[in-house]
């Protein structure tokens, strides 16, 4: 296999894997907290998360571009056109998706568990920890779906990564570039690998029963 293909594959996995880990760190506890809480603020937060699930990736890319560019509030971090910027962008992209899925998983299956934990006087942190542990399989399934969304997006990777060869080029940006150049061979190779990764993940989720 071409070295470029291997390099792009590994970078794509690294960036989107990192984005999934980052997003999971805040989205999983947040999704569980929203399912535990019954106040109005939680319901509003959940509605916002649901609305944001389908937000176009270029809009997130544009917003983060303005924040991370030299003249933006976080320009001093020099993150623009780095894998880290792409990671952050993809993490922001999948955050509403993970929150919504976690909410569905927990509120659909763990309502009585939540009540039981409240009865025994569990703190919010203990509830998050216990529910995450009890719904572990579904939580992993949700994270994988988030990863699939991240690895398949183009707008953020292009705007925040810049598609720099050897630095920020990933599956989607490379495929787009190669098609523009009329070099279909590499684009097809990368497309097949992306498809195989997607199918593999779906198969794992189905076989393990991590999502109904």
């Amino acid at each position: 296999m071409d070295l470029t293909v291997i390099e792009i594959t590994l970078r794509s996995l690294f960036v989107s894997g990192g984005a999934t880990v980052l997003a999971s760190i805040w989205s999983i506890p947040l999704g569980i907290i929203l399912s535990i809480s019954t106040n109005k603020a939680s319901r509003i937060a959940l509605s916002i998360a649901n609305m944001m699930v389908g937000i176009p990736t270029v809009l997130i890319g544009l917003l983060l571009y303005m924040i991370l560019s030299k003249s933006g509030p976080l320009g001093f971090l020099n993150l623009l056109y780095t894998p880290m910027a792409m990671m952050i962008g993809q993490a922001v992209l999948i955050t509403p998706l993970v929150i919504s899925f976690i909410y569905e998983v927990v509120s659909g299956e763990a309502r009585e568990l939540i009540e039981m934990l409240k009865i025994y006087g569990a703190s919010k942190m203990q509830m998050v920890e216990t529910i995450a542990n009890e719904a572990r399989d579904r939580v992993i399934g949700t994270a994988i779906i988030g990863f699939q969304r991240a690895i398949g997006e183009l707008g953020i990777a292009l705007m925040l990564g810049g598609n720099i060869k050897g630095l920020t080029r990933v599956f989607t940006t490379a495929i787009a570039l190669e098609v523009q150049k009329g070099e279909f061979e590499l684009a097809i190779q990368l497309g097949i690998i992306l498809l195989v990764i997607d199918l593999l993940l779906i198969t794992i989720i189905r076989l393990k029963g991590w999502m109904k």
């Binding site: 009540e115 039981m116 934990l117 009865i119 025994y120 006087g121 569990a122 009890e134 572990r136």
Partner: protein, 211 residues
């Protein structure tokens, strides 16, 4: 003492699940009876502090459990669902769960484990147990924290005859010093109960009190 004062509950704007319920439960064994959908479970949840009533108040030892000081008094209340809830942990960890959640809370697990002969199952994952054993573990988790107010929803529905009799005997003894409220269809405790409240369509149909 638990006081239910003018409690009503509805999930939507129209239909009342419970309507204008006034009850008191002193130390002893109290049964809530009625057909499915009569409001027994909802009342149990409201008394346990996990489902605020739409109208009315619940007082335990004179404290409004949904008021500012409610959390402290709710430490004395345990509710056990009709559907057994066990955690993906060992049977032992499930039984002592109350102590794991609230460090320092006294747990009386060893006595219960011996009484119900669960020694051989302690290391087993509770998720792998039969429905009957899951219900037993759910009940023992509640018994282990020795709540002053114990509220049970259909506690013996999955148990075999032997465990059922043991649990009923335990509850009768336990209710001598504590308040035990049981929502049930079964007649096994009718003779020993201090009160039997019959609900129908969310209203009190009849209440039998014994001294």
């Amino acid at each position: 003492m638990i006081e239910v004062r003018s409690v009503s509950f509805k999930y939507d704007k129209k239909n009342y699940i419970l309507y204008n319920i006034d009850l008191t439960f002193d130390t002893g064994l109290h049964l809530l009876k009625g057909p499915n959908g009569s409001g027994k479970t909802t009342l149990c949840k409201i008394i346990s502090g996990i489902l605020p009533p739409t109208e009315g108040r619940i007082y335990i030892e004179g404290v409004d459990i949904y008021g500012e000081a409610g959390d402290a008094i709710l430490d004395k209340v345990i509710f056990v669902h009709d559907k057994p809830i066990v955690l993906n942990r060992s049977v032992y960890e499930n039984i002592i769960f109350g102590g794991l959640i609230q460090k320092g809370r006294p747990i009386d697990a060893n006595y219960l484990i011996k009484k119900f002969r669960l020694e051989d199952l302690l290391e087993k994952n509770a998720k792998e147990l039969s429905a009957g054993y899951k219900q037993l573990v759910s009940l023992l988790r509640a018994f282990a924290v020795k709540p002053k107010y114990l509220i049970l929803d259909e506690p013996i529905s999955n148990l075999d005859e032997e465990f059922r009799d043991q649990i009923l005997e335990y509850l009768i003894n336990y209710s001598k010093d504590n308040t035990v409220i049981i929502a049930t269809h079964t007649p096994y405790l009718d003779e020993t109960a201090s009160t039997i409240t019959y609900l129908n369509n969310g209203r009190i149909k009849k209440r039998i009190e014994r001294n």
